[in-house]
Amino acid sequence: MPTQSTTFDYAPAPESRALVDIKASYGLFIDGEFVDGHGDAFKSINPATEETLAEISEADDADVDRAVKAARRAFRSWSRMPGSERAKYLYRIARIVQERSRELAILESIDNGKPIKESRDVDVPIVAAHFFYHAGWADKLEYAGLGANPQPLGVAAQVIPWNFPLLMLAWKIAPALACGNTVVLKPAETTPLTALLFAEICQQADLPPGVVNIITGAGGTGQALIAHPDVDKVAFTGSTEVGKAIARSIAGTDKKATLELGGKAANIVFDDAPIDQAVEGIVDGIFFNQGHVCCAGSRLLVQESIADDLLDRLKRRMSTLRIGDPLDKNTDVGAINSGEQLKRIRELSEVGDAEGAERWEVACDLPTKGFWFPPTIFTGVSQAHRIAREEIFGPVLSVLTFRTPAEAVEKANNTPYGLSAGVWTDKGSRILFMADRLRAGVVWANTFNKFDPTSPFGGYKESGYGREGGRQGLASYLKAGA
């Protein structure tokens, strides 16, 4: 049977928590200082254990106003500072992120539930790289292809999700600052800790007060921030539903927006694909970060002739995934970020059962405390099934089949989303044929879930608009000069 587990018994190799000093409570970071918020404080918990980590201030409308005012004041000097000087602050931040990388990685895994090997080897290194890359742009903006004398927009309101807390912060703050904007950023309410540690990093870097403000809270705080009349730019990463509400709320204003929203990416495997590499790519595509990835390859489209063989190999590979303690260096799949998200994953999976798809999940012992969901695949999925249409945002893969390249294109594009797509084939001309026709902002061919500061990221259709990263990402934070 392909489903048998071939997992070796490894001794636990937990990362030490000693490096991380979590305070009992955290305030808001406004104008370079930590201050108390005036809303109802809330708790951030460790999703792997449900232990309370810290009490977090909630920013009310007046706090939001204070933060925006601080950013506005700071904008006057920050935007006029020579780019070469702004660059030095960003380089400093990049360096401090590298110096404190282990601490950031551990804290991220504790607060988010992601495996330490991902926070250590993916999230934090890309955070540092993102600041380093954008630092270099600060004094070269006239070469970005956006006109001779591009100007910053002003104050940016940035609202980020819980799946890559520090990485999304970097994607938002680094380009904004490089282009001469100042920011007020709100991290997700379940994962505020690395953003608050980042505030300390800004202090260590002697970043001028008000250039970066970090306010915590839930959806209401985010709404108040985006609705603030003195905000010039809105940058949001999160659900398509909230993205649409934001687009409506800024209608008729002069606010510019970048929206990076949901996805339901097709990962397409042809019969000539390098099959073992494809299996690795499928696993990486949907189980990386517990499937809490907007660009996750959540719809596997496999050519009919190889479907049985591929699924056997996929199940065998999935059986070797190690699920458990996020701080264990052997762990491949960590905790679901929150009880609420776990509920949604369970509900949609039950819809999958009810609509007639066949569920297969990895047989494994899940911890008794915390939020956990085993890596799962559904076969016999049709395009009409909700698990083929809706974003589950968890470790759940829907498998569909196709016969011809045209059918693969048709099925892949049959979604309101358009964030990413994957193609696996050994034939170069077919890769380019598919890449041309897939309506998605990122196409990974014979690879998946790769990210780089130089590579623009963002979606087509209802996956949002605007790009983050690369030269194209700068356009989100600049306007044509006079």
Binding site: G252, S455, R471
Partner: protein
């Protein structure tokens, strides 16, 4: 005795054909002095939906053409427009009440604008796309692609304004559904005759005439429209409601300018890039 002239029926332009509105309704178009010029078709919701369907149908073929070919087609529109210069000058003089000299200047500028954009067809990808030096063994390329079906609320400028908003949209491979200027709709339909005889595939540009405030909301809320250009919306309240409706499927919105731009000025690149997506393709490098 003077010859009785044969007058033209102004119809809609949808899918390369010139249908009347399915409503059978029309509205009176007046000249600059308020005198009757002609009846124009009053497009309905069904006409708008037909136009979107035609634009969607035309999109794969038009966006799939080579950039060189699209450039040639847009250049051909310029050629045909040039040969009908006198007709357009006369129309502009009649509808706008301007001098023949001024009208001539605008027709010439419209021809030149089309030539300018024709040349962009096979250059825009080189200017706004690039390879990305990622930190790993991967080939990584970002290229612009058309957004899809773009709805356009045309500005008042009956010829140069219209050409200046539509040409950048189609030259990159988008298809368009245009709500013609409510006060000057006739020139748009005459321009459609130019496009229909310029090898432009049917459905790439579709033109509706009628009340803007009635037609534009159907397009703004249409779930198979990818973007909307509010160039000709002068009522702030209408602009906001169109932008709200556009959020239903996250259309890319180009907001209305504070006032009608001077169309004689050289356009900004944003006229094209606002309706382009960036696609980034990764592939490993190895043996």
């Amino acid at each position: 005795m003077a010859r009785v002239d044969v007058r033209k029926t102004y119809k809609l332009y949808i899918g390369g054909a010139f249908p009347r509105s399915e409503s059978g309704h029309s509205f009176e178009v007046l000249d600059a002095k308020g005198r009757f010029l002609a009846n124009a078709a009053r497009a309905t919701r069904k006409d708008a939906r037909d136009a979107v369907a035609a634009a969607r149908k035309a999109f794969p073929g038009w966006s799939g053409r080579t950039a060189y070919n699209r450039g040639q087609v847009v250049y051909r529109i310029a050629e045909v427009l040039e040969t009908r210069r006198d007709q357009f000058v006369a129309e502009l003089v009649r509808s706008e009440g301007t001098s023949a000299a001024k009208a001539g200047k605008y027709v010439d500028a419209a021809v030149d604008r089309l030539v300018w954009y024709a040349g962009w067809a096979d250059k825009i990808a080189q200017v706004v796309g690039n390879q990305n030096p990622v930190a790993g063994p991967y080939f990584n390329l970002t290229s612009p692609e058309p957004t899809g079906v773009v709805a356009v609320v045309a500005p008042a400028g009956p010829l140069l304004g219209l050409v200046s908003v539509v040409a950048p949209i189609i030259v990159t491979g988008n298809t368009a559904v245009v709500v013609a200027s409510q006060t000057h709709p006739l020139t748009a339909i005459t321009l459609a005759e130019v496009m229909a005889t310029s090898d432009l595939p049917g459905g790439v540009v579709n033109i509706l005439t009628g009340p803007t405030a009635e037609i534009a909301p159907w397009l703004a809320s249409h779930m198979d429209v990818n973007a909307i250009d509010l160039a000709g919306v002068t009522d702030a309240e209408l602009a906001t409601s169109l932008e709200v409706a556009a959020a239903d499927n996250l259309k890319r919105v180009r907001r209305a300018p504070a006032s009608e731009p001077d169309w004689l000025e050289t356009p900004a690149l944003a006229a094209m890039t606002d309706f382009l997506e960036s696609k980034t393709v990764w592939h490993p490098i190895g043996v």
